[in-house]
Amino acid sequence: MNDTPSLEELVEEFSEIDDAMERLELLMDFADEVDELTLDEWSDDNLVRGCQSQAHIVVENREGLVHTRAAADAKIVQGLMGILSVVMNGKSPAFVLSLTPQFAIDMGILNSLTPSRSNGFRTMFDMIQSEVKEKF
């Protein structure tokens, strides 16, 4: 866990990239960081509603620490999930609840946080926090 970058480091890494397409490429690389839900685990219960792509996410309580598992058909969406995984997995519920989704803007990978059918990030983020509240 020690070698996972901090949120600040991630924001810096992304925001240093000038080219928008390169930023998205890097984001897509984070798709691999997701502890992936298998296809048969996809269900209406863990569906991120309002996403344009198929996206699923679950939050587990692993000995008092947050662990997310997720999957999406769009790679950029799974990349966003990857960022959330890196930032949140293995962290305390208090830490996860202290986060705001603003970092996605600061990273330069989203220009809006308004939940809408084209922007499931906010919805994913809110889903995680509310599951954390429920399960811890």
Partner: protein, 403 residues
């Protein structure tokens, strides 16, 4: 003129306009208000730099437009302390929406909808149509001799009432109704409440949640915003009882040939491409209004209305309607027994002064007042005492000359 007032006037480009060789004096604010430059600019800027259809796309312009559109809703939520803000094309559509989406599915034949004789047609005709469709009974609270609602009769009319709809502030009399009292009577009888706040919202902050009502309807264009947009505020509980009104894009979750499922939030009632630029303009209007001391202005304008009413009452043959008590809005309706309102309005227009004439979409109230129509002067933030004096002396000389 105070520096503040000068600054306000500077924000309104139309005040530079001349009508018939005179500076425009615009006293038709209850019909629609003028727009500050920031509102016009916000819409121009929207069209010049981010126009795109909202919600269903990932490209930058669509993201920005969605953000702009939804940020108006967010702003309205805060401005009105309301959780559910459904965009409509105005007060009228908002009331029709309430009648269709809630009334039709939650009222039954014989249930009573209580209205008042003071209502704007927009708060009468939708209910008459609903009544014809599903057989609800309409009952009207009369306007008393003193031009206020007859509260005794209101209290006596509550039997069987499931919904009470009334105008917060009359567009003809300026009368602010005893809102809190009516709400409390209605709630005691288990009735829902819809308030037509078209004339209230331009003049005061409304706190929807603390009013403990179910619906509130208003229009942007009467509060410095653009035409073509308004909203219906709905309490969270009542929101869940509403069925879709219009069908189409944006309000659905899924569509199959067999049937459709709907969105769960406000979008459920906003079928089709929304009023995007209009929301951007309204957002800017709210921001502009939030810098104005509305309480101070309300009193200044009400003083102007009282002064106007008094001076007009001093003219022989003149009848002035309304009481202009505290909380009323700055609207003065009047009529002269010799000079026809239409002649008066045209003669005033010849001096650049804009007043409205006619029944003001409140024919039942006109009937009660015993007139076909009135002249109406309605004041707003950018109006000055000097303008009022000009109007008054012009009216005085018209009456002298033409009666």
């Amino acid at each position: 003129m105070s520096g503040d007032l000068m600054a306000i006037r500077d924000d309104f480009p139309i005040l530079q306009r001349e009508v018939n060789g005179r500076s425009l004096i615009y006293f038709d604010n209850a019909a629609t208000t003028q727009k500050p430059k920031v509102v016009i600019d916000a819409m121009t800027d929207y069209y010049q730099s981010m126009n795109a259809n909202v919600h269903r796309a990932v490209h930058t312009l669509a993201g920005e437009s969605t953000e702009a559109y939804e940020s108006c809703r967010e702003n309205l939520r805060k401005w009105f302390s309301a959780e559910k803000v459904i965009f409509t094309s105005g007060t009228t559509e908002a009331i029709n929406l309430a009648a269709h989406a809630w009334g039709k599915h939650n009222l039954n034949k014989g249930d009573v909808v209580l209205l008042t004789e003071m209502e704007h047609h927009s708060d009468i005709v939708p209910w008459q149509m609903l009544s014809r469709e599903i057989g609800v009974e309409l009952r009207y609270v009369p306007v008393a001799e003193d031009h206020t609602l007859d509260m005794e009769l209101l209290r006596a009319s509550m039997e069987g009432v499931k919904l009470v709809c009334f105008v917060h502030t009359s567009n003809v009399l300026g009368a602010r109704n005893p809102v809190e009292e009516i709400v409390s009577i209605s709630k005691k009888h288990g009735a829902k409440v819809l308030i037509d706040a078209a004339q209230a919202v331009p003049h005061s902050r409304i706190d929807f949640t603390s009013m403990n009502i179910d619906f509130l309807a208003c229009s942007a264009h009467k509060m410095c915003g653009p035409t073509g947009i308004g909203c219906l505020l709905v309490s969270p509980g009542t929101f869940l009882e509403m069925e879709p009104f219009m069908g189409g894009g944006d309000m659905i979750e899924t569509v199959t040939l067999e049937g459709s499922t709907y969105q769960k939030n406000e979008h459920k009632f906003e079928a089709g491409t929304p009023k995007i630029a209009e929301a951007v303009g309204w957002d800017a209007a709210i921001n502009w209004l939030s810098k104005i001391d509305l309480q101070f202005e309300h009193e200044r304008l009400l003083d102007m209305a009282r002064h106007t009413a008094n001076r007009l009452r001093a003219i022989p043959g003149m009848t002035v309607f309304g009481q202009h008590t505290d909380g009323d809005s700055a609207v003065v309706s009047f009529i002269h027994d010799k000079v026809h309102p239409e002649d008066m309005a045209r003669l005033l227009d010849a001096r650049g002064i804009a007043l409205r004439t006619g029944h003001h979409c409140a024919q039942p109230l006109m009937e009660k007042l015993g007139v076909n129509g009135t002249l109406r002067a309605s004041f707003y933030l950018y109006n000055t005492q000097e303008e009022v004096e000009t109007m008054l002396s012009t009216i005085e000389s018209i009456v002298e000359r033409f009666s």
